[in-house]
C-alpha cells in the first residue's frame, strides 16, 4: 500500500536523527545544571558532618567522676569555683548573673567553655567517615597512643547548639544565633522599607506617569540600577547611611548613646536600596500583566483611578509582585559585600536588640569562617550555609504559599 502520508525512508531517518540530536543537546544542558547543583549540596553536606577527635584540657569525666549531665547545680558551681580564678569568676557573673541563679544547662555550657575547654584535634568529612573508616580507625589509634584522653564522636556540625550559640573563637563552641537574628532583622527592615516604596514607585510609573522624556529617563535608570554591582550599593550605604545620616542610623536622634552608624538600620536601608530596582521592575511587570480589559471595565463603571488600582490592579498584580519580592529577598539575604562595607562585624556575640544594634549576618559569618586557617571553621561554615539555605527556603515558601492563596482567590 502506498500511503500518501509516507515519507521516503531516508528523509524520515534524517529527520529523526536531527530530532534526537537536539533533544540530546537540551537534555544535557539540564543535566549539567543538575550535576552542578548536586555537587554544591554534596560538598556542603560533606563538610557539615563527620567524625571528630576531641581532647579536653581537663578531662570532662575526671571532674566529678560522673558525666556532667548527671551533676547537680551546686556541684557544677563548685567545679567552676574550683577551676577558675576570682577575676574570671567575676567576669562570668557580670555577664551572666550570679552563678547560683543560673540553670543547669547554662552551667554545663560554662563548665565546658571555661574548664573542660575541648579542642578538636582532627575532624573528618562525611565522605571520609563513611568510606574510609578503617584508615580513620588506624589514625585515631595512633593518636590515642600519644594522648590518652581522646574523645571520638560523630558530630553533625549543624546541631541545636550551633543554632542557639552565639559567636565564639573556638569553632566547636561557635554558633549562628547572632548571625541569624542579624539577618532576620536586616531582612525585616529591608522588606518594610523596600516593599512599599518599590510597589509605590511601580504603581506611579505604570499607572500615573505619562509618556515623556523625564519618565523615560527614570525608567531607563531603574532598569540599569538593577544591574549595578552590590558593592556599589555598599559604598553608597556607607556614605549616606553610615556617615552622613549617622545621627539617625545610630539612634542618636532617639537618645541612644555610644553607638555609631554601623547599625542594623543602615544595613537594612542599604539592602533596601539594593533590591529596590529589582522590586520595582518586577512589580511593574506584574502590574503591566493585569489585563487592560480589567482596568477598562472598572473605569467603565465610573470608578476613579485610585479605586481601579486598589480594587483591581493591585489584587491581580499581587501574586506577581510577591514573586518578585521573593527573588529580591533571596538576593538580599545572600548579599555579603555591601554588609561588609556598612560595618557588619563577625566578632559580635551580642544578640541584636533593635534597629540600632550592631550586627553580623549569616553570609558575613560564612565568609569570615571560610577565611580562617583552622579546618574546623570550614565545617561550621558549611553548617552555616545550610542554615542560610533553610532560612532562604522557608522565607520563600512563606511567600509562595501567600502568593498561591492570593491568586486562587476569585478565580
Amino acid at each position: 500500500m502506498n500511503n500518501i502520508f509516507t515519507s521516503p525512508r531516508s528523509i524520515l531517518a534524517a529527520r529523526h536523527a536531527r530530532g534526537k540530536f537536539w533533544r540530546g543537546v537540551f537534555f544535557s544542558s539540564t543535566l549539567i545544571g543538575l550535576i552542578a547543583l548536586a555537587a554544591l549540596i554534596l560538598t556542603i553536606l560533606n563538610r557539615a558532618a563527620g567524625l571528630v577527635v576531641i581532647t579536653d584540657a581537663v578531662d570532662r569525666n575526671s571532674l566529678a567522676g560522673r558525666p556532667l549531665t548527671e551533676l547537680t547545680r551546686p556541684e557544677l558551681v563548685t567545679i567552676l569555683q574550683d577551676h577558675l580564678t576570682r577575676t574570671r569568676l567575676r567576669t562570668l557573673e557580670r555577664n551572666n548573673g550570679p552563678l547560683d541563679s543560673l540553670d543547669e544547662e547554662t552551667l554545663i555550657n560554662l563548665v565546658m567553655e571555661q574548664v573542660v575547654k575541648p579542642t578538636i584535634r582532627k575532624s573528618y568529612t562525611l565522605a571520609e567517615t563513611l568510606f574510609q573508616r578503617a584508615a580513620i580507625e588506624q589514625e585515631i589509634a595512633a593518636m590515642r597512643a600519644e594522648t590518652p584522653n581522646l574523645q571520638v564522636e560523630f558530630r553533625s556540625w549543624l546541631n541545636p547548639g550551633f543554632l542557639t550559640r552565639s559567636m565564639s573563637a573556638t569553632p566547636e563552641l561557635a554558633g549562628v544565633r547572632t548571625a541569624v537574628l542579624g539577618s532576620l532583622w536586616i531582612i525585616a527592615i529591608t522588606i518594610l522599607v523596600a516593599f512599599p516604596i518599590g510597589v509605590g514607585a511601580a504603581i506611579y510609573l505604570e499607572e500615573y506617569a505619562s509618556e515623556n522624556r523625564v519618565n523615560r529617563i527614570i525608567q531607563t535608570n531603574i532598569d540599569n540600577l538593577a544591574g549595578v554591582p552590590s558593592i556599589v550599593y555598599g559604598i553608597l550605604g556607607l556614605a549616606i547611611f553610615v556617615r552622613t545620616l549617622s545621627h539617625l542610623t545610630s539612634g542618636a536622634v532617639f537618645g541612644i548613646q555610644g553607638s555609631n552608624g554601623r547599625t542594623i538600620l543602615s544595613a537594612g536601608l542599604t539592602m533596601a536600596l539594593l533590591i529596590l530596582p529589582i522590586l520595582i521592575i518586577n512589580a511593574q511587570e506584574a502590574i503591566r500583566a493585569v489585563p487592560a480589559s480589567l482596568r477598562q471595565a472598572s473605569y467603565g463603571l465610573g470608578a476613579t483611578r485610585w479605586q481601579t488600582i486598589w480594587h483591581h490592579v493591585l489584587p491581580n498584580a499581587l501574586p506577581g509582585i510577591l514573586t518578585g519580592t521573593i527573588l529580591a529577598i533571596s538576593r538580599a539575604l545572600g548579599e555579603t559585600a555591601p554588609l561588609i562595607l556598612v560595618g557588619a562585624s563577625s566578632l559580635i556575640n551580642k544578640d541584636p536588640t533593635g534597629v540600632f544594634s550592631f550586627f553580623t549576618a549569616l553570609p558575613i559569618q560564612i565568609y569570615n569562617w571560610t577565611a580562617r586557617p583552622q579546618p574546623e571553621f570550614r565545617n561550621i561554615a558549611a553548617a552555616a550555609i545550610l542554615v542560610l539555605l533553610v532560612v532562604l527556603l522557608s522565607l520563600n515558601s512563606v511567600a509562595i504559599v501567600l502568593r498561591n492563596r492570593l491568586s486562587k482567590r476569585g478565580t
Partner: protein, 260 residues
C-alpha cells in the same frame, strides 16, 4: 434632524473631530442619538467607529495623545467641558466591551462592586437580583452567586458584564462589538436582551456584523474612511432604510459587501 432640539436626544454631537496626536481619526461627526432606541454604528475597520463610541463616555481620555474638538452633548451639557468630571460621565453612560471581561471576583461582587463604589445606599442583595434579572441571567446563576464570574460561559460572562453596567444605573449603555467573541446563539440572546433593555435604556452598539445591526438596531450610522484615513459618518437613518435603500453609494457598496 436639526440642531435646535438638543434635549430631545440622548446624545448629540456637534462638529466632533477626534485626534490621536496629529492624526485625525474621525472628522466632522454630527450625530443625534434617539433615546430609548438602539443605534448601531457600522463601518469598515479603522473608520473610527469605536473611537466615536469611546468618546461618548470619555474612555478615550486614557489614551495620552487623544484630543477632541467640537461638542458632545448629554442632556444639553457638553461632557468635554472643563468642569465635567469624567468619572461622573461614566456613571451615567456605561460601557460593555468586546471581550467579556468580568472581574476575577464572585458573580455577586461583579454586580455589586460598581454600585458600591458609587455609593449605593440601598439593599445590595436586592439590587444584584434585580440587575441580574434585567440582564436575563438570574435564573442561570441564582444558586451560584458565590462562584467566580470567570466560571461562566462566554455568553453568560457578557450578560454578567451587562448586569454589572446596569447596576450603576446608567442612562445610556455603550456596547463595543459585544458579541464578536460569542457564538451565534449567545449572540442572539444578547440581541434579545438589548431589545428588552431598550425600553429603559438608550443603547449604542458598534458592530462589525451587519446582520446584527440590521436585526437588532432601530437606527444605523454608517462610517467610512476618507482618503486621508480619517473616519467620517456617511449616512445615518432608520435601520430598515439603511439596509434596504441606502442613499449614499458608499453605504450601498459597504452594505452589499462591495466595499473596496
Amino acid at each position: 434632524m436639526t440642531h435646535e432640539t438638543n434635549n430631545h436626544y440622548a446624545i448629540e454631537t456637534r462638529g466632533v473631530n477626534l485626534y490621536y496626536g496629529n492624526f485625525r481619526a474621525v472628522k466632522d461627526v454630527d450625530l443625534q442619538i434617539v433615546p430609548q432606541k438602539i443605534t448601531a454604528i457600522i463601518g469598515p475597520s479603522g473608520c473610527g467607529k469605536s473611537t466615536v463610541l469611546r468618546s461618548f463616555n470619555r474612555m478615550n481620555d486614557f489614551v495620552p495623545s487623544f484630543r477632541m474638538e467640537g461638542e458632545i452633548l448629554f442632556h444639553g451639557q457638553n461632557i468635554y467641558a472643563e468642569d465635567v468630571d469624567p468619572v461622573m460621565v461614566r456613571q451615567r453612560i456605561g460601557m460593555v466591551f468586546q471581550k467579556p471581561n468580568p472581574f476575577p471576583k464572585s458573580i455577586y461582587e461583579n454586580v455589586a462592586w460598581g454600585a458600591r463604589i458609587n455609593g449605593y445606599k440601598g439593599n445590595l442583595d436586592e439590587l444584584v437580583e434585580q440587575t441580574l434579572r434585567d440582564a436575563a441571567l438570574w435564573d442561570e446563576v441564582k444558586d451560584n452567586l458565590k462562584k467566580s464570574g470567570l466560571s461562566l460561559s462566554g455568553g453568560q460572562q457578557q450578560r454578567l458584564c451587562i448586569a454589572r453596567a446596569l447596576a450603576v444605573k446608567p442612562e445610556i449603555i455603550l456596547m463595543d462589538e459585544p458579541c464578536s467573541a460569542l457564538d451565534p446563539i449567545a449572540t442572539l440572546k444578547i440581541e434579545e436582551l438589548m431589545r428588552e433593555l431598550s425600553r429603559q435604556y438608550t443603547i449604542i452598539i458598534v458592530t462589525h456584523n451587519m446582520q446584527q445591526a440590521a436585526r437588532a438596531s432601530d437606527y444605523t450610522a454608517f462610517f467610512t474612511m476618507d482618503d486621508d484615513r480619517a473616519g467620517l459618518m456617511v449616512e445615518y437613518g432608520e435601520t430598515h432604510q439603511i439596509f434596504t435603500n441606502p442613499r449614499d453609494q458608499r453605504t450601498e457598496d459597504y452594505i452589499t459587501g462591495r466595499f473596496g
